[in-house]
């Protein structure tokens, strides 16, 4: 093999091995960091795993928000109008968090079926509904109307 070819081979090998390692690492990291979304109905039916990081979302049930009066702990329920699940969160809620508003929470289900949330997301546009929530509501046939047409216009 002449030196020029040898050099080219080295470079190509370097790139290929680098790409291989990168793809491997990427797929591993991806598999470790995927959070599946579950609707309240799916969780109520026991489809969601316990003790794994998941996302759940729906509309915040009117009158369900319950604050602890010593800390920032707050409990509330989200619903897709078929089932509702309790969510526990400790921290500051986003500005757009309101009763009747669509939210997505990220956290783990505990043994008692409560979602221990580490993050609660509500989006900045009041007409905007997280797509997951919109789909969950549609599946349940409970997309709010007529304001439903305003969503995602």
């Amino acid at each position: 093999m002449n030196p020029k070819r040898k050099k080219r081979l080295l470079i190509v090998l370097f790139i290929l091995s680098g790409a291989g390692v990168a793809v491997g690492l990427t797929l591993y990291a991806l598999s470790q960091n995927i959070n599946l979304f579950f609707s309240p109905t799916q969780i109520a039916q026991g489809e969601a795993p316990v003790g794994t990081r998941i996302r759940a979302g729906g509309m915040v049930v009117e009158g369900s928000v319950n604050r602890d009066n010593k800390s920032l702990r707050v409990e509330f329920e989200v619903t897709d109008f078929q089932n509702s699940i309790p969510i526990v969160y400790s921290g500051i809620l986003p500005d757009l968090f309101r009763e009747g508003q669509g939210i997505v929470a990220q956290g783990e289900l505990d043994a008692s079926g409560k979602l221990q949330a580490v993050e609660v997301l509500a989006k900045h546009d009041e007409n905007y509904m997280p797509p997951e929530v919109a789909e969950a509501l549609e599946k349940a046939g409970k997309m709010p109307k007529p304001s439903g047409q305003e969503f995602n216009k």
Binding site: N33, I92, N152
Partner: protein, 657 residues
């Protein structure tokens, strides 16, 4: 009347851009100079009419013309005039108009600034820009015209601008970002023109370089501003969320960075040509992909305004045509490209190749993490999201590797370098960097992780290598130091400054990630809380009425080591027109640390949920971005580019004579 004029001007601009995308292209193909010479006046015309349309929309906003549906949805009489002006690009339709205006502006700049280009190249470049402009003008006119009327039932009052966007950051962030995004269309057009004419040579790289550098600098500035804006306006003190839309701007930046370096190799050494062309195509394609991701509403994101499948489909088609068409052309022509020189394994060429590979790897992982949820959703396999740990797990180590090679590459010679001599040259700076990095972290209180050490050591590594390289270059001549410093080219200083920006950015990321202190608290009036050396005393909140909002302003007294230091007043605003609640944080900025106070929600008995943060070195993130921006502009304005083209011009004239 005025809005109709705006639409009319857009239609005229469309007609001219259709001409621009055909006449000069055909002229260049046939060698018809007269047809080519239409390119410049047509570019001016397209810009002129697009600008008229933009001015018409701005006028509609300033005059509170709520019969225009876009104005009614995004403005309000109570809005101050400067926000009414920036509201022009506060929503989908207007921001697309700004996109097109920016594109027309770049086309105009190329038309006016490139008098030295060979006529056929200029015709083709402007023609390609014309094709892109046509696509986007069609998009604006058919799916998202900002001039649609709400007649006869026009509202008396507008719905107000989204309060998040009522901020200085929004006035400047989108235009800068668009300048960058759209700027890559110039590099793209040059690449396509070079492929069409079959003249992929050093001259092509030299013409393309300053434009690419400027576009890259704008994109860097746009991303920096976006990060800064998110930091203080979204309210929670984060500066990068790995949000799909942030990723959409990061991907063209990564490929653009690779392109800037690859163009350097192509210009200096005449190698990597087809790779450079490919990067130029991908940089612009990723800009289009970013536009698609943001505008189609397929993403759950802070930037996802409202979705419309028709619009998404239109951009997707544009994207497919651009990528498909340019890659097809590439496949046809790339085999004709020949390298003009060779290089050995240890050389600057190889180092820049490593840079390109690493940047592409980061970009690929970001792309995968961003598109994977969409793919899974499209296949009906469930709704998923990919968390920040994924992105950090890959971009941090590869970024560190990139910095390691950056230090080596900047001192390696072109073509060939003695490997052992290079290693010898590197040992001392590397030891110095480790000693400085470890010492500076040991002297600091608090727990450092492995990656904190890596980040700080690599930052010192870049600093030491930059100093040693500059001093080497100065000492090579016997003339006085100052004269030697002056003799170094401007693009060299640009490079050093941008690389220093990388070091500053790395320090910012490493320090703020490791030493950030955050407390989420319930505070009643009189409560105190210690964060680092600072003590915060909550004194309660009072009510306040602004022009288009009402708010609660809290007062916190801050003590530094027991001494009175500052009074901070975070706010919670309720924007009345939309009923939107907004957090206005209180900041005490500093070069080495920020104090950050955000007000959560009111609790009973005058207590509030409050977030207190101590953020060391957070300013360095944006300082790094600014240094990179400035470096890019310095490199682009190097007088060499102008001199070179003048020399070629005179050579051509003598040859013709």
């Amino acid at each position: 009347m005025i809005p109709e004029l705006g639409t009319y001007a857009l239609v005229l601009a469309l007609c001219l851009s259709v001409l621009l995308s055909t006449i000069p292209m055909v002229g260049a193909q046939r060698g018809n100079l007269l047809w080519i010479s239409f390119a410049r006046p047509l570019s001016i015309g397209v810009f002129f009419f697009t600008a008229i349309s933009f001015v018409a929309l701005t006028y509609a906003f300033l005059a509170n013309d709520f019969s225009v549906s876009y104005v009614a949805n995004n403005s309000n009489t109570a809005l101050p005039w400067y926000y009414r002006m920036s509201a022009v690009w506060g929503g989908h339709e207007g921001s697309l108009l700004l996109w097109v205006l920016t594109l027309a502006g770049w086309t105009l700049a190329v038309a006016l600034k490139s008098r030295d280009l060979p006529a056929d190249i200029l015709g083709r470049v402007l023609g390609v820009m014309g094709i892109i402009t046509t696509g986007f003008l069609l998009f604006v006119l058919f799916t998202s015209s900002p001039f649609e009327r709400l007649l006869p039932r026009s509202p008396a009052e507008g719905a107000d601008l989204n309060p998040l966007l009522q901020d200085f950051g929004l006035i400047v962030h989108p235009p800068m970002l668009y300048m960058g995004y759209v700027g890559f269309s110039v590099a793209f057009a040059f690449a396509i023109a070079a492929l069409l004419s079959g003249r992929l040579d050093a001259a092509w790289a030299r013409w393309s370089r300053p434009w690419t550098n400027v576009a890259w600098a704008f994109l860097t500035l746009g991303i920096t501003l976006g990060s800064w804006w998110a930091y203080y306006e979204l309210g929670w003190g984060g500066w990068w969320f790995w949000d799909p839309v942030e990723n959409a701007s990061l991907m063209p930046w990564l490929i653009g960075t690779a392109l800037v370096h690859s163009l350097a190799v192509t210009e200096k050494r005449g190698v990597f040509k087809s790779w450079t062309v490919l990067l130029a195509i991908f940089a612009f394609s990723l800009s289009l992909l970013g536009t698609f991701l943001v505008r189609s509403g397929v993403l759950t994101s802070v930037h996802a305004f409202a979705a419309d499948p028709e619009r998404g489909f239109f951009i997707l088609m544009l994207l497919l045509i651009t990528i498909g068409g340019s890659l097809f052309l590439y496949a046809l022509r790339a085999s004709e490209v020949k390298s003009e020189s060779s290089f050995s394994l240890v050389s600057r060429e190889t180092m820049l190749l490593v840079n390109n590979v690493l940047l592409t790897v980061i970009c690929f992982t970001v792309l995968l993490g961003t598109l994977y949820p969409l793919l899974v959703d499209a296949l009906g396999m469930g709704k998923i999201s990919v968390g920040p740990p994924y992105f950090n797990a890959l971009s941090v180590p590869v970024g560190a590797l990139l910095m390691l090679f950056l230090g080596v590459g900047a001192v390696t010679r072109w073509r060939r370098q003695d490997g052992t001599a290079l290693l010898k040259q590197l040992v001392v700076p590397f030891v110095i960097a480790i000693v400085l990095g470890v010492l500076s972290l040991m002297l600091r209180e608090g727990e450092s992780t492995l990656w904190t050490y890596v980040g700080v050591i690599l930052a010192f590594w870049l600093l030491v290598m930059a100093i040693s390289d500059i001093s080497d270059r100065v000492r090579r001549r016997s003339t006085p130091v100052l004269a030697n410093l002056k003799r170094l080219p401007r693009s060299y200083y640009g490079m050093q400054m941008a690389h220093l920006g990388v070091a500053v950015l790395a320090v910012g990321i490493a320090m703020v990630s490791a030493f950030n202190e955050q407390r989420d608290l319930r505070m009643a009036p009189g409560d105190t809380q210690q964060v680092g050396d600072y003590t915060f005393v909550f004194e309660g909140a009072r009510h306040f009425d602004g022009p288009n909002y009402s708010s609660d302003i809290a007062t916190l007294r801050v003590f530094y080591k027991g001494e009175p230091y500052d009074v901070m007043q975070p706010e919670k605003r309720l924007y009345t027109a939309r009923g939107t609640v907004m957090t206005e944080v209180a900041l005490d900025p500093g070069l080495f640390r920020d104090l950050y106070v955000a007000l959560g929600e009111p609790l009973e008995n005058g207590a509030w949920a409050i977030r207190l943060q101590f953020k060391p070195y957070v300013r360095w993130l944006w300082l790094g971005g600014l240094l990179m921006t400035f470096g890019g502009i310095l490199a682009a304005t190097d007088p060499r580019y102008r001199k070179q083209s003048r020399r070629e011009q005179s050579k051509l004239e003598t040859a013709n004579a």
